[in-house]
């Protein structure tokens, strides 16, 4: 089968569906190639997101796409806990319904979704991208002016288009997660973040509340942590802190986090995890997926109209000077944390126990918290004095 289109979107997750919706609503012919035979078939996600980002990029969403609203946070350090009230913006999604909703929006805008379609080759010819793929074992040829790579952590679009998107083990979080029943437990309905420099090397563990007293319980460790695998560490944590929680599913996932040299090529735009844009500190990927997809499609639309796709690297500049601006600073903070976690965690947690426990998160600003922390934790003060100049340079460059 042969198809000609303005835009080929590879992958129908939050990023792909958002880009497709935007470009289709601009009047372009859009084809989405989804590898699986169903949208949201293999969700590998803790499902946390903030409402302002959803409202900003997607608009109002059906109530059933939200699994649980966050109003309590627990911070755990080796079994000791600090509790905070945090009524506000955080939600845990039902990613299956959320992704389906985004796909419906894309299709209502006019995009065509091809399920079970695997793209296996990309070639640039006469200012067009020729994609080869398969659908149900039959070969498929798609000719497109623009290709949006929204094919997740295992993205191949970039590599096939000549953008090296590979990362090193140090640039990736290796993650495992279960869905389990936490009824009757402290974690029921609360967002738990757990730190332990040995068990969760370079990363953290989480329990994100879901409907029906369930939770997504998982962890992410640095890819170069060595020692036990993510799944073994998760089993250890579950048997320590979640005894009796009935597990109904097990998944594995990765979060690549790196500032890539390029996230575009002429006519090609990488978005979301395919562009390695997850938040360096939290590992959250849905927010950047939505915002990068919006930016990429806005720029693709303009360039398509002007027939100037050779200028696609405008997207790189716009991202790193706009929404991606904080990425570098957060990556720097993450690396500073990784280098000092053993020295840092005990005094910082002690400070949190004294100053934060039982309070409402709206009572203090992030700046106040940071200042209080730096004043009372000498290690942090030393670190801050070496970090601040570098951070300043990043902010004001």
């Amino acid at each position: 089968m042969k198809t000609k289109t303005d835009v080929l979107v590879v992958g129908c997750g939050p990023a792909g569906a958002t880009a497709a919706r935007y470009l289709a609503s601009e009047g372009f012919k859009v084809v989405i190639a989804e590898r699986n035979s169903a949208v949201a078939q293999d969700i590998r996600c803790a499902e946390g997101l903030d409402m302002p980002t959803i409202k900003d990029v997607v608009g109002e969403i059906p109530e059933n796409t939200i699994s649980c609203r966050i109003d309590r946070i627990i911070i755990d350090y080796k079994g000791e806990r600090v509790r905070l009230n945090a009524p506000g913006h955080g939600v845990i999604l039902n990613r299956v319904l959320f992704d389906q909703h985004l796909s419906y929006l894309a299709m209502r805008a006019g995009a065509e979704l091809i399920l079970g379609c695997c793209i296996t080759d990309l070639e640039r010819k006469d200012d067009l991208w020729r994609a080869k793929g398969t659908k149900n074992g039959e070969s498929l040829d798609i000719e497109a002016k623009v290709v949006i790579g929204a094919d997740g952590p295992e993205s191949v679009v970039g590599k096939m288009a000549g953008i090296d998107t590979s990362v090193l083990p140090k640039d990736i979080y290796s993650c495992c997660e279960v869905r389990a029943d936490v009824s009757g437990m402290d974690e029921n309905g609360a967002l738990l973040l757990a730190l332990d420099e040995e068990l969760f090397t370079g990363g953290y563990a989480w329990s994100f509340p879901k409907e029906n007293h369930a939770a997504n319980i998982g962890l992410g460790i640095r890819g170069d942590a060595g020692g036990k695998r993510a799944f073994e560490r998760l089993a250890e944590w579950l048997s320590r802190d979640f005894k009796g929680a009935g597990v109904v599913s097990e998944i594995a996932g990765v979060v690549p986090v790196k500032k890539m040299e390029k996230i575009s090529a002429p006519g090609v735009f990488l978005v979301g995890d395919a562009a390695r844009l997850a938040d360096p500190l939290s590992g959250g990927g849905i927010g950047p997926a939505l915002t990068s997809a919006r930016l990429a499609s806005e720029i693709a639309s303009k360039l398509l109209k002007k027939d100037k796709l050779e200028d696609s690297n405008i997207y790189d500049k716009a991202w790193w000077h706009g929404e991606g601006r904080q990425f570098e600073q957060r990556l720097f903070l993450r690396n500073a944390y990784i280098a000092n976690d053993k020295k840092l965690l005990p005094p910082v947690f002690e400070w949190a126990q004294k100053n934060l426990d039982g309070k409402n998160i709206v009572e203090f600003s992030a700046d106040e918290m940071l200042l209080g922390l730096i004043k009372s934790v000498p290690v942090l003060f030393k670190m801050a004095s070496s970090i601040v100049p570098t951070l300043m340079k990043m902010v004001f460059k």
Binding site: R35, N36, D42, R44, C118, T120, G152, P153, E154, S155, V156, K159, M160, D164, T165, S166, V167, L168, P169, I172, S174, C175, C176, G223, D224, G226, R229, A230, F231, E232, E250, I251, A252, G253, V254, P256
Partner: protein
Amino acid sequence: MKKILLDHIKCKLCGGCVAVCKPLALVVRTGKVHYSPKKCVACYNCEKICPQGAISIGADDEDKD
């Protein structure tokens, strides 16, 4: 060169091995990770990051290639 060995039962298709593979020796296709030894540069980063421990390094088979 030592090839890698994939354990498809342990593999949960997280795609991590594909993310760290520069030469596209690993890809996910039709619900399975596919390995092309000819493209592999033997960096073994895939073995390091696999959350499931589903990748191991095989015996040296230089003579057979």
